[in-house]
């Protein structure tokens, strides 16, 4: 205590700083860094939770490379990304851009668009699953039937199931993206628009030459954020296909679901860890490539 009192103000602050940080540093080391390291180590081992952990070198990765299910899953994961990100970004931008110009019931409309973002994914997965059922249960098919159209097989078809699961995922994320886009639009100084209007520039030119370039930071953020979300899709798929997770015939199975099954149904911990390392590599690559492309000067 006496020694503390003799310290200078600066030195005291250093003591306080490490005092503030002690517990958090322990947390980040034990709960974040060590598990990351452990996952990487485990990916070079074979372990079924009961027997001993054995070193197998690259065997898990080789097995993954030759696993036809993995390639199907890999493809599915990227289909979620390649369809999900552009569709949700274009939709949310168009809505935000138009909503920004409306005044009548502006707050109410914005709240309605935002509402799905606050719902629980699991609850909504079941709601949509109900909608997709065949007649006489599912709302969509009942609606189609009432108009005299043919039935659509949503969740039991290898070609329709993935888009059917993707739609609720897009729907749930739209509200967040709209709010972020609107905040971005509001940050653009009105003087830019006034100057353009005085110069007689058309609406489309304003959109392409002023609005979109100035929104670039917002767009970069949303592209990366939503891509990571689609690459990690799990809750919707798991809940909409509980009787055969990832089915029919693995046509909807994303990488996270494969990891979950390998680890907690087959208890093949090493193989599952190798899959998580691959997921990590994919997320890292996709984020870095997008940042690179989108940050480039035109």
């Amino acid at each position: 205590m006496k020694r503390y009192r003799n310290l200078s103000i600066r030195q005291k602050q250093v003591v306080w700083a490490w005092g503030f940080l002690a517990l958090p540093i322990l947390f980040y080391v034990v709960i974040r860094f060590y598990p990351t390291f452990n996952a990487i180590v485990l990916s070079f081992q074979s372990w079924n939770l009961l027997g001993p952990r054995e070193w197998v070198g690259l065997e898990n990765y080789v097995k993954l490379w030759h696993d036809p299910v993995f390639w199907k899953v890999f493809r599915n994961t990227f289909v979620y990304l390649i369809l999900g990100t552009p569709i949700s970004l274009v939709l949310s931008f168009v809505i935000a851009y138009q909503l920004d110009k409306t005044r009548l019931l502006h707050g109410t409309l914005r709240a309605l668009y935002f509402l799905p973002f606050l719902t629980s994914t699991v609850a909504m997965a079941w709601v949509w699953r109900w909608f997709y059922q065949p007649v006489p249960i599912g709302l969509f098919n009942n609606f189609l039937a009432s108009l005299g159209f043919a039935q659509v097989n949503f969740l039991n078809s290898t070609s329709n199931a993935l888009p059917s699961i993707l739609i609720p995922a897009i729907w749930a994320g739209l509200g967040f993206q709209i709010i972020i886009f609107m905040a971005g639009l509001r940050a653009i100084p009105t003087s830019y628009y006034e100057a353009a209007r005085i110069d007689g520039v058309s609406g489309w030119t304003i959109l392409w030459e002023i609005t979109l370039p100035l929104l670039k930071p917002t767009i970069v953020f949303l592209v990366v954020f939503s891509s990571i979300g689609f690459l990690r899709i799990f809750d919707q798929v798991f809940n909409m296909t509980t009787n055969n997770p990832g089915g029919p015939l693995d046509s909807t199975k994303p990488l996270v679901l494969m990891i979950y099954q390998t680890a907690f149904s087959s208890f093949d911990m090493g193989y599952a860890a190798a899959q998580t390392v691959v997921l990590f590599a994919i997320l890292l690559t996709v984020s870095l490539v997008q940042l690179r492309i989108l940050r480039e000067k035109p």
Partner: protein, 289 residues
């Protein structure tokens, strides 16, 4: 930082009327209103189904001819839903309190103190943002298994008691707190913890509440980790319980919809009450990126 503040505040006001009346405005408004209705339809049909009898469950009408609360009494009767609800609430609340406290503490230390290793600690914490939860769940599971954390509240909570995102956000917001305020408090004889708690924290309350909303919502809807770490029905969180319940009911969709409604209604109520704050908070937290 100030720009973010300004723009998220500006979000709350509608643009002032300018120029001649846009001839497209009626069409635009109609389309936007239709879109908004489509957006909430799934929620509306879920709520509607939860107060319908099975005989009209599959009709397209939204307002039931014979509304009933029997589904709710049935679903709530065995007490499981209340238990899951309580679990989720407790876990989300405690995790949020812990994360907001520690994220603000670390954010402040990294922002307002100068010491060797500050940048290193900051970069190290920030780098954990790149590690996906899915990569950590297997080691967390093994860790929980050896420490006896499986099937406990602590087991569900421990991965979320601090967040790198919140630390980053709070560090950003503490930049807006002038050092003079802290210096003045120091002269008044407050110690550094007191300065943080009673001078700096009150100045960033909007950021704290924005962060709290995000973290609470994230924990309230979290699914993968609670699914892995819990085994017994008494420990399930609402999303995990809802999955089990729905699988059990299989074809009784009005009961599944009632379960889904029970998981959704609380957030709907909170949103209706705090709408403005929540939207502003989301914009504020989201825009930091």
């Amino acid at each position: 930082m100030t720009e973010i503040r300004a723009s998220s505040a500006a979000l709350m006001q509608t643009r002032a009327a300018k120029g001649p009346r846009d001839p497209w405005s009626v069409l635009r408004w109609t389309l936007l209103a239709m879109g908004a209705i489509v957006m909430v339809m799934p929620i509306v049909y879920m709520l509607s189904a939860s107060i319908k009898y099975p005989f009209e469950m599959y009709d397209l009408n939204i307002i039931p001819k014979e509304p009933t609360f029997e589904n709710y009494t049935y679903v709530l009767s065995d007490g499981r839903f209340l238990r899951w609800f309580g679990n989720s609430f407790l876990i989300a609340t405690l995790t949020t309190l812990s994360a907001v406290f520690f994220d603000a503490l670390v954010g402040y230390a990294l922002c307002k103190f100068t010491f060797r290793g500050r940048t290193f600690v900051f970069i190290a914490i920030l780098s954990t943002l790149m590690i996906p939860t899915e990569m950590l769940v297997i080691p967390w599971y093994l860790m929980s298994k050896s420490f006896g954390w499986l099937d406990t509240y602590w087991g569900i909570m421990f991965p979320g008691i601090m967040t790198a995102f919140g630390t980053f956000l709070m560090k950003q917001f503490f930049e807006t707190v002038p050092d003079d305020f802290l210096e003045a408090a120091r002269i008044d004889g407050l110690n550094e913890f007191q300065i943080w708690w009673s001078v700096a924290l009150p100045l960033v309350t909007p950021a704290l509440s924005a962060l709290a909303i995000f973290i609470f919502l994230g924990n309230w809807t979290a699914f993968l980790w609670p699914l892995i770490v819990t085994n017994s029905a008494e420990l399930y969180t609402l999303p995990v319980g809802l999955t089990t319940f729905s699988v059990e009911q299989a074809v009784e969709w009005e009961l599944i919809m009632t379960g889904a409604a029970l998981a959704t209604i609380p957030t709907l109520i909170v949103f209706l009450v705090f709408q403005r704050y929540i939207i502003r908070g989301v914009a504020m937290a989201g825009l930091k990126g």
